[in-house]
């Protein structure tokens, strides 16, 4: 007993840098234990199940017509929604950081609404809004525009969930831009449009790309706010997360695992892309 304690101590010391602060072993141990139990173990079981399907099995699931259609729907509509979020997110961030107008603080706070509002609540609200008898659905129906229960509905819901990612990624950078840069550009004869386009936008491009990637990643996995407005027709307006649930209800665990693995792969590629963008940005602009 007495011999074991110093050995363990020595081991801990060689792992961390020397410090007088106590509690490393307890807090680090609990962190690793809890993380492994709640997150790593279940996730690795998913990967393990998927690996037993093999690459050919995964491919077989991915090219099943209904699965392929759902993955395509999720992927392309998420991409379009993230692109719309980049445009309007940039305008929103610009207006909120640069202009003073009544209600600015309120709008700034409300941008986080999609983070705070439960997805099911957003889902039924959007569905009610765009349904044929809804506040927006009714006037749009006069022009033969149908949004609810079509792919357009999915797009609307995904634009909603992705917006704050772009605004909140771009906003701090816009606030930090040095006014001297703009003045220098103007005194050198650039028009305002040239200054914005060639001096202000390039340094925030990495943030825009990061915001795009975050919004896209969130949209691909989004479930609650989409299913109420989507109509959920197989092959047309069915998203990949919904198909996982459909497969589970049919006790097709292999199918559900396969789709989930493909979606995880998409998320991790996006995470990797974000890290690469930030590494590049650090090198090119000296900020993240």
């Amino acid at each position: 007993m007495s011999a074991a304690a110093p050995v363990a101590n020595k081991k801990a010391r060689s792992f961390t840098a020397p410090s007088v602060i106590p509690g490393f072993r307890a807090t680090f141990g609990f962190t690793i234990f809890y993380l492994s139990l709640v997150v790593l173990f279940p996730l690795s079981l998913l990967i393990f199940r998927a690996s037993s399907l093999g690459l050919s099995g995964l491919y077989g699931i991915a090219v099943e017509p209904r699965v392929a259609a759902a993955l395509r729907t999720s992927f392309f509509i998420s991409f379009a929604a993230a692109a719309i979020d980049v445009v309007f997110g940039l305008i929103t961030a610009w207006v909120l950081t640069r202009y003073e107008f009544p209600g600015r603080r309120f709008l700034d706070a409300i941008v986080d609404l999609p983070f705070a509002l439960p997805t099911a609540v957003a889902g039924i609200a959007l569905a009610a809004l765009y349904a044929p008898n809804g506040w927006l659905g009714e006037p749009l129906a006069d022009y033969d525009i149908k949004i609810a229960y079509t792919r357009w509905g999915i797009l609307v819901a995904l634009v909603f969930v992705g917006l704050p990612f772009v605004v909140r990624t771009v906003q701090p950078l816009l606030a930090e831009i040095d006014a001297e840069l703009e003045e220098a550009s103007a005194t050198l004869g650039a028009s305002r449009a040239q200054t914005v386009w060639r001096v202000l936008l390039p340094p925030i491009l990495p943030a825009l790309l990061t915001g795009f990637a975050l919004a896209f990643a969130r949209s691909v996995g989004e479930y609650g706010s989409v299913i109420f407005i989507a109509g959920n027709l197989a092959y047309i307006s069915e998203i990949a997360p919904l198909l996982i649930i459909v497969k589970l209800e049919q006790f097709d665990y292999a199918g559900a695992t396969g789709i989930a693995t493909i979606m995880l792969a998409i998320s991790f590629s996006v995470l990797l892309a974000i890290n690469l963008i930030q590494a590049w940005s650090q090198k090119r602009f000296g900020h993240v």
């Binding site: 106590p22 509690g23 809890y34 509002l117 809004l129 989004e222």
Partner: protein
């Protein structure tokens, strides 16, 4: 607010009269951009929010309050409160421990650990639920073993708790880690050399420094825990009065065309979201230096 309106209303007039600074847009561009942003936020954020409360009150206050007399609705509210009461303290404890280990010590693999803690944010809610079905479901790895002891996890409350822990896992930790990294270890070292115990140092030195950040993280985790839908939907089994949380009950009511009740229950969650946003804004405004806030979500 009321003082801001007259001066702002005058602003365009002044901008036209005075020579424009080289770092400003023309008043026209400016007003168009403000108009676009306000219209976009109004259309995509405010209108859906307004729909929730309007639909909830569509048949008057009587129908609104009758929703909360329903036994199923009450059971859903009770279950949601129970789940949040288990999940939020656990994840707060984890967040504090993880932030302590990561910010006060240096060890190899720290950035990997931070990435792993963030992992649940990049996983679809549905997949978060699915992984627990794979572990505890009837065809799962541990499901049969647990069933032999009469413990049901999936399609029961433990599964809902686990899935909610998963989706709210990073909130407190990722709020505290950058904050505590910024604060360093000097104050703790001073307390320790003056003879305070480790736990006392935490309570009297560290905790006061991080309390607003901690509260901020807890608020966000709580809002998500009470509102989580996708992950919980996979593991709950949708048993009325037993395994339905508020969002799941909202779904059932909505699909039964019980629109008023669906929106009445939803308005409870929307109200929670608004209170959370209000607190969040207040904390960001009042204690900007004492929370990490405003970083990537």
């Amino acid at each position: 607010m009321s003082e801001a309106i007259p001066s702002a209303a005058l602003a365009p007039v002044i901008a036209v009269a005075a020579p424009r600074s080289v770092t400003e847009e023309t008043p026209l561009t400016r007003n168009v951009l403000i108009g676009v942003a306000v219209a976009f936020l109004g259309l995509f954020l405010l209108l859906p929010l307004a729909v929730v409360f309007t639909e909830a009150m569509a048949k008057g206050a009587g129908a609104f309050f009758a929703t909360f007399e329903e036994p199923d609705a009450r059971a859903a509210i009770r279950l949601t409160l129970i789940v949040a009461a288990i999940v939020v303290p656990l994840n707060a404890l984890f967040g504090v421990c993880a932030a302590w280990a990561i910010s006060k010590f240096s060890f190899p693999g720290k950035s990997v650990l931070i990435t792993l803690i963030d992992l649940p944010f990049s996983v679809s809610p549905v997949v978060s639920g699915l992984v627990y079905v794979l572990v505890f479901g009837s065809q799962g790895l541990l499901g049969p073993t647990f069933a032999a002891y009469g413990i049901q996890v999936v399609f029961a409350i433990p599964g809902i708790v686990l899935a909610t822990i998963f989706v709210t896992f990073p909130f407190v930790a990722r709020e505290l880690i950058p904050l505590m990294q910024e604060q360093g270890t000097v104050e703790e070292e001073a307390a320790l050399t003056l003879g305070a115990s480790g736990f006392r140092t935490f309570l009297t030195v560290t905790l006061p420094n991080i309390k607003w950040g901690l509260l901020y993280g807890v608020l966000l985790a709580n809002a998500r825990a009470m509102g989580e839908f996708g992950a919980v939907s996979v593991v709950s089994g949708h048993i009325r009065g037993l395994t339905n949380t508020i969002p799941l009950q909202v779904e059932i009511l909505y699909n039964e065309y019980n629109i008023v009740s669906a929106f009445a229950l939803a308005s409870l969650l929307a109200g929670l979201a608004l209170v959370t946003l209000g607190f969040k804004t207040l904390l960001e405004w009042r204690y900007a230096g004492q929370i990490a806030g405003r970083r990537r979500h």
